[in-house]
């Protein structure tokens, strides 16, 4: 009996993931680019609109693995050296949400600023990193 239930579990998991993938008709999301260089995020501050899901593309230009991590955004993703990774965040209410590099938490730090009245501005120029 357990064998059949076990088989059923594996089948259900596979089917569930396939259905999820087939329904993955993603809407076009606004894209924001972030770079990791010398264990710092560039830009370190990103301004996004409230109540909207957005796409973050993170490029790791370092020779070491880094992990984008945020307790506020509830996101974590390993980014391999000289590779890029994509994560989706939001919809979020107005406020500030910090993120950091888990492998270099004292240097690699940044924040996502969510604004109600979103102006056509994605990064604050002149501010390259928060340190």
């Amino acid at each position: 009996m357990i064998k059949s239930v076990l088989l059923h579990c594996v089948q259900t998991t596979s089917i569930a993931l396939l259905i999820l993938l087939s329904f993955n008709l993603q809407a076009k999301r606004t894209e924001y680019q972030i770079e990791i260089r010398n264990h710092l995020f560039y830009p370190a501050k990103i301004i996004i609109p409230s109540n909207e899901k957005v796409k973050l593309v993170i490029h790791n230009k370092d020779d070491n693995v880094e992990e984008f991590d945020s307790f506020d955004l509830n996101r974590e993703k390993v980014i391999f050296p000289h590779r890029s990774a994509v994560i989706f965040i939001g919809p979020l209410s107005a406020g500030e949400y910090s993120f950091f590099g888990e492998y270099n938490p004292y240097s690699a730090r940044g924040k996502v600023v969510v604004k109600e009245q979103f102006q056509d501005q994605q990064t604050i120029k002149g501010e390259q990193h928060v340190n």
Binding site: I2, C9, L20, V65, F71, N74, S84, F88, S93, Y103
Partner: protein, 266 residues
């Protein structure tokens, strides 16, 4: 580096220690096929070997399916762990098919061990080359290992005591909550790659127990604690708990009825 290594060790190794304790307690009452120290040592060697192999392939997996490979891979593993835990939970009072249940437990242990272990190996190997940080990392490893072991031993005896004094199935419920925590992790990963819908958080309990605090990290590992859960996470958590409990109730109530029915027939 030292603190970071300890924190990473807690985050990645504590789930392995906790699942070991929960599975040992799950089978401690079994009369036959009880897991031995030899069995546990072999499983540990297998987990370490598989975690090393997995860490080697993680980069390739991360680039698969348009960069969604890791999330899909990890969430599949966590989903399987949850499904297997339902089987163990529902059959917790049955002494039949113990061998299959032990095999399921071994697979759960391997999945949790590999997925968490590979992540830590990645961190460890990435910074091994930096000679000046090796000492800090080694001290961090010893400290982290000691903390995890202490928590695991304390947890083992607390649950064993609770099983005897309060409710015989306390550890089985803890195993279910632990795997629901893994299921929550799978949901967050699928939301992260936009496969599952995200919504604004229902509440923020960060001011009471912050997720990055020691207690927050422990609760996250034990129950899938989340300071800002979305509606989908909340509903899934409730359903993931209620369904196995209902199945368990149905089975436990159906058995006496079935026996009564058979008795009347004969």
């Amino acid at each position: 580096m030292l603190i970071n290594t300890v924190l990473l060790f807690l985050q990645n190794a504590l789930p392995i220690f906790i699942i070991t304790v929960l599975l040992l307690l799950r089978f401690s009452s079994e009369t036959i096929n009880k897991p031995s120290v030899k069995w546990l040592a072999l499983s540990l060697i297998l987990v370490v070997t598989l975690a090393v192999i997995l860490s080697y392939f993680l980069e390739s997996i991360s680039q698969a399916v348009d960069g969604k490979g890791i999330e899909l891979f990890l969430s599949s593993g966590f989903l399987l762990v949850y499904f297997f835990s339902i089987i163990l939970f529902v059959h917790k009072n049955s002494n039949r098919e113990t061998a299959i249940k032990i095999q399921l437990a071994l697979i759960m242990f391997l999945i949790i061990g590999c997925l968490n272990g590979a992540h830590f190996i990645l961190y460890f190997t990435s910074y091994w080359s930096k000679a000046q940080q090796v000492q800090s990392m080694l001290i961090g490893l010893i400290l982290g290992g000691g903390i995890c072991l202490s928590i695991a031993i304390l947890f083992y005896f607390l649950l064993k005591y609770a099983d005897r004094r309060f409710h015989p199935n306390t550890s089985s419920y803890f195993l279910l909550f632990f795997t629901i925590g893994q299921l929550m992790h799978a949901i967050v990963l699928l939301q992260q790659i936009d496969i599952l819908p995200s919504s604004q958080s229902l509440w923020d309990s960060g001011q009471f127990i912050a997720e990055n605090s020691e207690l927050g990290r422990l609760l996250t590992v034990l129950f899938g604690y989340e300071t800002t859960p979305s509606l989908l996470q909340f509903i899934t958590y409730a359903i993931a708990f209620i369904i196995p409990v209902i199945i368990n109730l149905l089975i436990s109530h159906a058995k006496p009825l079935l026996l009564l029915f058979r008795g009347e027939k004969s």
